[in-house]
């Protein structure tokens, strides 16, 4: 557990913090302008999108530099700009944004990766007829995502969060003429919305309890000490404090967005969207928004923890994360779609981030988030390049030997793969993953998550080796020969590859710059950081695990990748396990027979109730009225007046009112209405007398 950091209270926001809103606003405006463009204005739309992202990146860098400057002067920067949107009763509905190390780091990552992916998209989407719409949605997404990052109000965060979900829906279903894409879009939207409703309730609760929607507000914010004390004093159900319960509700929202078990099912299907979308939204940024959210509300998650201890909320985060990490890695082993392997890998890595947050704190989880964003974006764009080069083929069994056809793609992909596996020393993934493993090793509760995560690392190295040998090793097994992609796609790959390696430098034990920066401590360079025996043992051990995974993968697939018709090497060894894994451990099927069936049953039951019971009750009342009319007629004709108008017969023929209604004419109803009024008046007279 990290020590509590004290950020100096702000007096007035700097001009740089004041202009922070421009960072999300610029892409949003670009999206609005692009929406007005004609389909044919392809170039304009790309220029708009890329131009706006460049502006956002520039502004993000300025903001980042501002925070770093303050920090290097020994000042932890947290500047907020808040304003009231409207008043509800006595409470203010506030919005606002915050500039602190957390948001600054995330801003730079999102806008930088986003910009590279936008550029790449020019090549990838070149032949698509809806090029303009694509860039419109992508800009809208970027704006919303940057809005999530800067939000200092849980409401603003939620609003941008929903907008992010909406654009994700629109982009997964971008090729909506493809039935699978339309179905995947719907599934993604529904699944994440389930999480979002919990998030919404968590927000409602937090607001009802603390009376503010702001995270930080010079001591009066909802996750600052004063409010947290109140939340801790309040007990909710199941032995949780209000803080813990709200934390869990918010985590449910984060789990939906970040594809945590059991809400992970949408993410692999989301691969139906264009590959740049998968890279930007379903690998680097949006899916990380859940992790970011937990990092943002970390004081709430951590509230009530004793020194070195943990809280119920964080324990849940840890277990869900660790389980997801292993679970998804297992499924990834038995997938054959190039993007699906990466998708399950993303789910698994998001689990690592969550576990890192749960056990190690904000900096540990966030560091993996940042490094992962780079190398996973790289892998997805590499996969896009492969798909592009193979003329739309996505089945790794129909590829092979691409290392000579697509040398640059191969090189960059290999870098991304090694970073993801956590290959020692040179690659960023090694350092960020080791940070998580180290935290797991020191976790005060149990060591089980540690072993789970180590096993997950083994699986990661294994499935990535399998994938890479399938794609790049052996001989070409597809149809039309593959070709290398154009420069506009290759250059972003190279840049991302550089960062997939270089980013490790800011998070080594010798120079834990990133951690110190997020924690607001001074960073020092000290080679002795490496020398701690326990740490060395851990690094050695995790390196061994990675080598073991790489070796296993090479041993099974290395030089004899099978033809598409042949069974997989692993399939021959353990068929039942393979079958279960390749069917994604039957989670979708389980949902189909449980949750979906249950709701279907409930819905049909309610529908039946509505048609038969309530509908029947109405019919009964109507029948009662008609009986009364019959009685009236009887009295009228036989007692009051023998010769009643013939029309009255028509009025009161038996067989129930409803049957008559279906056949009758307007005049008839008027008479019935008149009769009803008479009855009404009679009731009134009677009631007035009483």
């Amino acid at each position: 557990m990290q020590e509590t950091i004290s950020f100096t209270p702000q007096l007035a926001a700097s001009p740089i913090a004041e202009m922070l809103w421009l960072i999300p606003a610029v892409p949003m405006v670009a999206a609005g302008l692009a929406a007005l463009l004609m389909q044919a204005k392809r170039k304009t739309s790309a220029v708009l999108a890329i131009g706006s992202m460049s502006v956002s990146l520039l502004l993000s860098l300025v903001a980042f530099a501002h925070v770093v400057a303050g920090w290097s002067h020994g000042q932890a920067v947290r500047e907020t700009v808040n304003f009231t949107w409207f008043q509800a009763g006595t409470a203010n509905i506030d919005l606002g944004w915050v500039l602190d190390p957390l948001s600054a780091v995330m801003l730079v990552m999102v806008s930088f990766v986003g910009l590279l992916i936008f550029i790449y998209s020019i090549g990838y989407m070149k032949d698509d007829e809806n090029f303009t719409r694509f860039f419109c949605f992508m800009s809208l997404f970027a704006g919303a995502m940057l809005g999530v990052v800067i939000a200092n109000s849980i409401l603003l965060l939620f609003m941008c969060w929903e907008l992010v979900g909406l654009t994700s829906y629109l982009l997964i279903g971008f090729w909506y003429q493809k039935p699978a894409a339309a179905a995947a879009a719907k599934k993604a939207f529904l699944t994440t919305r389930i999480g979002d409703v919990f998030f919404l309730l968590g927000m409602v609760w937090l607001f009802a309890q603390t009376g503010t929607l702001l995270f930080y507000n010079n001591g009066a914010g909802s996750i600052e000490a004063g409010a947290l004390a109140g939340l801790l004093a309040q007990s909710a159900a199941l032995g949780l404090t209000a803080a813990g319960a709200i934390g869990l509700l918010i985590f449910a929202g984060a789990a939906g967005k970040s594809g945590q078990f059991p809400l992970h099912v949408w993410l692999p299907d989301a691969m139906e969207g264009p590959t740049p979308v998968s890279a930007l939204i379903h690998a680097a940024t949006m899916v990380a928004a859940g992790v970011y959210l937990i990092a943002r509300v970390y004081p709430l998650m951590q509230a009530g923890a004793l020194a070195g201890g943990t809280t119920t909320a964080l324990t849940v985060v840890t277990w869900v994360g660790a389980f997801t990490a292993v679970f998804a890695a297992m499924i990834a082993v038995a997938q054959n779609d190039i993007k699906r392997i990466l998708a399950y890998s993303t789910v698994s890595q998001l689990g690592y981030m969550m576990a890192g947050l749960g056990m190690g704190g904000v900096a540990v989880g966030m560091f993996h988030l940042i490094t992962h964003a780079f190398f996973k974006a790289l892998l997805f764009l590499g996969a896009g390049s492969v798909i592009h080069g193979c003329h739309g083929e996505q089945d790794v069994r129909r590829m092979g030997g691409l290392k000579s056809d697509m040398p640059i793609t191969f090189l960059t992909y290999a870098i991304g793969m090694l970073a993801l596996c956590g290959f020692p020393l040179l690659f960023s993934g090694f350092w960020s993953k080791d940070g998580i493993l180290e935290a797991a090793q020191h976790w005060s509760v149990v060591k089980t998550p540690f072993y789970m995560l180590v096993f997950g690392a083994l699986l990661t190295a294994f499935y990535m080796t399998r994938q890479v040998t399938y794609i790049f090793g052996g001989h070409w097994r597809g149809g039309k020969p593959a070709h290398e992609s154009p420069k506009v796609m290759i250059v972003p790959l190279a840049i991302l590859a550089f960062f997939a390696m270089a980013l490790g430098l800011i998070g080594t034990p010798a120079w834990p710059w990133f951690r110190a920066f997020l924690d607001g401590r001074a960073a020092s360079f000290d080679l002795h950081g490496f020398m701690e025996p326990r740490l060395l043992a851990l690094m050695g051990g995790s390196a061994l695990v990675v080598f073991l995974g790489l070796g296993l993968g090479w041993w099974l697939y290395g030089d004899h990748s099978p033809k598409p018709s042949e069974p997989d090497a692993l399939e021959r060894m353990i068929p039942p396990v393979w079958a279960a894994l390749s069917d994604k451990l039957y989670v979708d099927e389980l949902y189909r027979v449980t949750v979906i069936a249950f709701y279907g049953w409930l819905a049909r039951g309610a529908d039946w109730l509505d048609r038969r019971v309530w509908g029947g009750a109405v019919a009964g009342v109507a029948w009662g009225f008609s009986l009364g009319a019959e009685l009236n007629r009887f009295l009228d004709t036989n007692v009051v007046d023998g010769g009643f108008d013939k029309g009255c017969d028509e009025l009161s023929v038996g067989g129930g009112l409803l049957a008559r209604i279906q056949t009758g004419r307007v005049q008839t109803y008027l008479r019935i209405l008149a009769l009803a009024v008479v009855v009404l008046v009679a009731i009134l007279f009677w009631s007035n007398r009483v």
Binding site: R193, V204, A606, V666, Y669, L684
Partner: protein, 513 residues
């Protein structure tokens, strides 16, 4: 004519009523066989009404309750022709104006007895304006009844799908509700003994608690029937489905609000002590407030579930109205500022969004495809053939499920916060309804526009010769108007809240100002 104009320009609001009725009369005597004239005339009247409503809304900003006109009507009983407006009235009058314009736009293709259609349409609108502006109980009740009658004919003559059954069902329910209300009102009048039917006088009459205890549920239920309160909601889906598009729009858009408005303006304002605890409780229910809140929550979840099981596109929307009106009733039962404000906000928001949904389903889709069965729409490839409808429904669906940026989000958020403050489990249960709400909306959206199965080559070939009629300007204008309003209010809710807040505050603080 004894129309007394007060010096402030707010009093122009009263002309929304007169104008609509006058328009209705003119249309009724207009020579037949000139449908275009009738349309334009109806549109002109509706726009004029909207203009008056907007003018009144702007002029009324920052003001409390303003009396528009006050004339003795039946002096022996103390009945006045008393029209007045507070913030709540002004917001709902604005809604009525918008719904009227949109309704005319989406009825542009009515060819059967066009004059009569628009005559009845405007009569209904006039009645609705009247209810929202009446501050005399008897007058309110008269307008309330006036609004119900044209509705019956609109459904019975221009409707579809078991229209007579639906119209009759609606009429029976309405009259049953009215009967309950009337009994309550007469009882209140007699008990108060103040010889005035003014809402304010009655609210200040200090009706005995024991009286309020039985009169409140009677009146509240009577009004809530028209608001679609479970289990008295079954008229709503069948009525919405059978009604012609404009009538469904008005039914969901404003007529259901009449009920909710009555619940607030009459039920809660006149009998506040009727909500007090009984002094005992059974399975957690210890007051009429609990009872109605539970019914509201059931309505939210149940309406959403039933919507999920529908095979008819319009029934999905019909049941969604039941679910969304549950939020209004739940908001009212929170009895706190934020919750009741949210309820009024939801009335406005649902009026706009439900109108939009019905317009898309009834006018834009059904009038072209001649089917509302999701299973048949699924084979029609509508996302390609009617892209405008598909996009419009995506946006309307977003608004309907409470996506931030649209008015529904603000309303539901306020209701949820209010409910949480009152009783957290109300909010939690309503949350379930929100989830199912997404499910039914998206199920309908996918089935109607983005099906999982591609149409066969044969179907595509058939489609080739049978292009669907092009989208017309009234449709585009109507969709633009309604989405624009929902978005504007969603992004700048202050514009309505500034009017609603003080009125709700005054109402909760002890009857009317």
């Amino acid at each position: 004519m004894f129309l007394i104009l007060h010096p402030n320009s707010v009093s122009l609001l009263a002309y929304t009523i007169y104008l609509s009725f006058a328009g209705s009369l003119v249309l009724a005597v207009l020579p037949k066989g000139k449908p275009a004239l009738a349309r334009w005339l109806a549109l002109a009247v509706a726009i004029a009404g909207l203009a008056l409503a907007v003018q009144g809304f702007i002029a009324g900003m920052g003001q409390g309750r303003t009396v528009l006109i006050d004339l003795p009507w039946v002096p022996s009983m103390g009945i006045h022709f008393l029209l007045a407006a507070d913030g709540i009235s002004r917001v709902l009058v604005l809604l009525t104006g918008l719904a009227a314009v949109a309704g005319v736009l989406f009825s542009w293709n009515i060819e059967l007895r066009t004059n009569e259609f628009f005559a009845l349409f405007l009569a209904l609108i006039g009645g609705v304006y009247g209810v929202f502006l009446s501050f005399d109980l008897f007058l309110l009740f008269v307008f309330y009844e006036i609004a119900i009658v044209p509705k019956y004919f609109l459904i019975a003559i221009w409707g579809s799908t078991r229209r007579e059954y639906a119209a009759m069902k609606l009429a029976i329910y309405s009259f049953a509700g009215s009967a309950m209300v009337l009994i309550g009102l007469l009882a209140a009048y007699t008990t108060a003994g103040s010889h005035s039917t003014g809402l304010i006088e009655l609210a200040h009459a200090n009706l005995p608690v024991s009286f309020q205890m039985w009169c409140f549920p009677l009146v509240f239920t009577g009004f809530a029937i028209l608001a679609g309160m479970w289990p008295f909601h079954t008229w709503a889906p069948t009525g919405h489905v059978a009604a012609p598009t404009a009538a469904s729009m008005l039914l969901a858009g404003v007529v259901m609000k009449l009920g909710a408005y009555g619940c607030l303006r009459v039920g809660i304002a006149l009998f506040p002590r009727g909500l007090d605890p009984w002094g005992f409780s059974f399975i957690g229910i210890g007051s009429w407030r609990d009872v109605f809140a539970v019914l509201a929550v059931i309505g939210i979840v149940y309406g959403a579930l039933v919507a999920l099981a529908q095979t008819d596109f319009k029934f999905v929307i019909g049941y969604s109205s039941v679910s969304h009106m549950g939020f209004v009733l739940l908001g009212l039962m929170t009895l706190n500022q934020i919750g009741v404000t949210g309820a009024v906000m939801q009335m406005f928001s649902h009026g706009i969004i439900a109108g939009l949904l019905f317009a898309i389903v009834g006018r834009i889709v059904y009038d072209r495809t001649h089917t509302r069965q999701l299973a048949e729409l699924e084979t029609m490839h509508l996302s390609k053939r009617l892209p405008f409808a598909a996009w419009a429904f995506v946006i309307a669906g977003m608004a309907s499920i409470g996506m931030p940026g649209f008015s529904g989000f603000i309303a539901e958020l306020q209701v949820l916060v209010g409910a949480w403050i009152a009783k957290p489990w109300w909010a939690l249960a309503a949350g379930v309804g929100v989830v199912v709400g997404v499910a039914y909306t998206w199920r309908a959206l996918q089935k109607a526009f983005f099906p999982d199965v591609l149409p066969s080559a044969h179907v595509l070939e058939q489609e080739h010769g049978h292009e669907l009629a092009a989208i017309t300007w009234p449709e585009v204008t109507g969709v633009g108007l309604l989405t624009g309003v929902s978005l504007f209010v969603g992004l700048y809710p202050k514009i309505l809240l500034d009017a609603i807040e003080p009125a709700v505050k005054a109402l909760l603080a002890g009857g009317v100002q």
